[in-house]
Symmetry: C2
């Protein structure tokens, strides 16, 4: 929308702006055979590597290639037929053959002066965003895999060193892995070593509490090691920690010496 400007000035402004919007913009004419492109902005040329002269009057499908999902192409075709808005994300290809993820919006637009519907296509290169999402998925599953490194130390005793930060997902994953391990190996003791935990908060407390409940049901004793003096103060708000009456030791070594003695007697 303009603030009190002449029509001709407005047109000049929009023409200057459309080539700088950072997305590809094309217009196609569905009344002509094979719905050819009648306009493309500079952004579209930069994104695809084609010069306007090479592609105007052609149908946009030259962007498709080997790995373009045919379901998405079908959705585009249907939308165009029904003159509906289309939103898809599909693999497209530049002039040099390189692939990019194209977030494509197609809008049917009625142009009054021509009394006809045209299509405005807006293309956004979302390759970086897709890569970030993939990487995030990778690290998330890596964190899950790394989060519960159970070490069987001797018959009936395993150690689980507690490392990193905790949330519901992490806790859920740990309980699942511990439950699976204890069921398989029928341990008498699981030592939860907290040497690498630097502050005792509600998430850590819930972790210990739920781990203890689980192990209790399975007939395995939870032993806590590596508790720091500061934890006594930090754990104060979580009233029932004392009631768990867990065995605690300064170090895994001390716990093992005592437990071996218990097991042998």
């Amino acid at each position: 929308m303009f603030a009190r400007l002449e029509e001709i000035q407005q047109n000049e402004f929009i023409k200057a702006a459309i080539d700088r919007v950072g997305t590809g913009v094309v217009i196609t004419d569905p009344e002509q055979e094979d719905n050819p492109m009648v306009y493309c902005n500079k952004g579209f040329q930069e994104m695809t590597g084609y010069e306007a002269e090479e592609i105007l009057s052609r149908n946009c499908r030259f962007l498709q290639g080997e790995e373009t999902n045919s379901v998405d192409v079908e959705r585009i075709r249907n939308g165009l037929e029904k003159r509906e808005t289309v939103h898809v994300e599909l693999k497209n290809y530049r002039k040099d053959g390189s692939m990019f993820w194209n977030e494509l919006h197609i809008f049917p637009v009625h142009i009054e002066q021509m009394d006809q519907v045209y299509f405005v296509g807006v293309q956004k290169d979302v390759t970086y965003r897709r890569e970030q999402e993939e990487l995030l998925g990778h690290y998330l599953s890596e964190v899950k895999r790394l989060s519960t490194p159970i070490v069987p130390i001797q018959d009936s005793i395993s150690v689980l060193p507690l490392v990193g930060t905790f949330d519901d997902d992490r806790l859920h994953q740990m309980l699942e892995t511990v439950s699976h391990h204890v069921k398989e190996s029928k341990e008498d003791y699981l030592i939860l070593d907290m040497s690498a935990v630097y502050s005792y908060d509600e998430a850590v407390h819930m972790g210990i509490y739920q781990m203890n409940q689980l192990l209790d049901l399975m007939g395995t004793k939870l032993v806590i090691t590596g508790i720091k003096p500061t934890f006594a103060i930090q754990s104060a708000p979580y009233a029932d920690f004392g009631e768990l009456s867990l065995q605690t030791y300064a170090t895994v070594k001390q716990a093992l010496e005592t437990l071996r003695h218990e097991i042998n007697n």
Copy 2:
């Protein structure tokens, strides 16, 4: 660029397109006092929550707020003064007070018919991308923290369970943590437990090789446990593994029994 179209038809097309490009577009007039906005598209109104009527003729700084970085604001001011292109990412605020990350491009554009320079501002809401990047940073440091869970088992023996996948970064991180730990605790033995490793590839081989070199320098013996029968075949291409002459055991338990015996004699 257009394919053989009337001037008037072109203008209609671009006007229809500019409101659908998915980014905010504004034009400001630096020849007027305080460089007011003379145009904004629909995308800008949707992104910011303001109606055009409320904001036209005002300077764009109404988007700034409490947490907008003043260094970025200064960069914008300098760019405008020198009539240069500006590219910044800064915290902006919608009409309802909510924050969004704005990737802002400003282009000085000479409009021939007015023989004057105007500014085209293009705004992109990159809040989602920033959140993804932050999350990625979080998980990356979490993976690093989780990647080397060393468990001191008894005087002079620690266990490091090997979990997850390996790359140069991960290996580097592991060597650093192990080096630090061994220096502190002066272990005689470090048991590298491979029970959770399912295939022996070059990355795993390099890990063992470099870990052995490091520990050798520090006077600590590397012991490998949890080797699967399939590893013998998979490790064949890495010629010098046999030459390392490492102590290997099926399980951590077996290793501990033998090592305790060695230490006691």
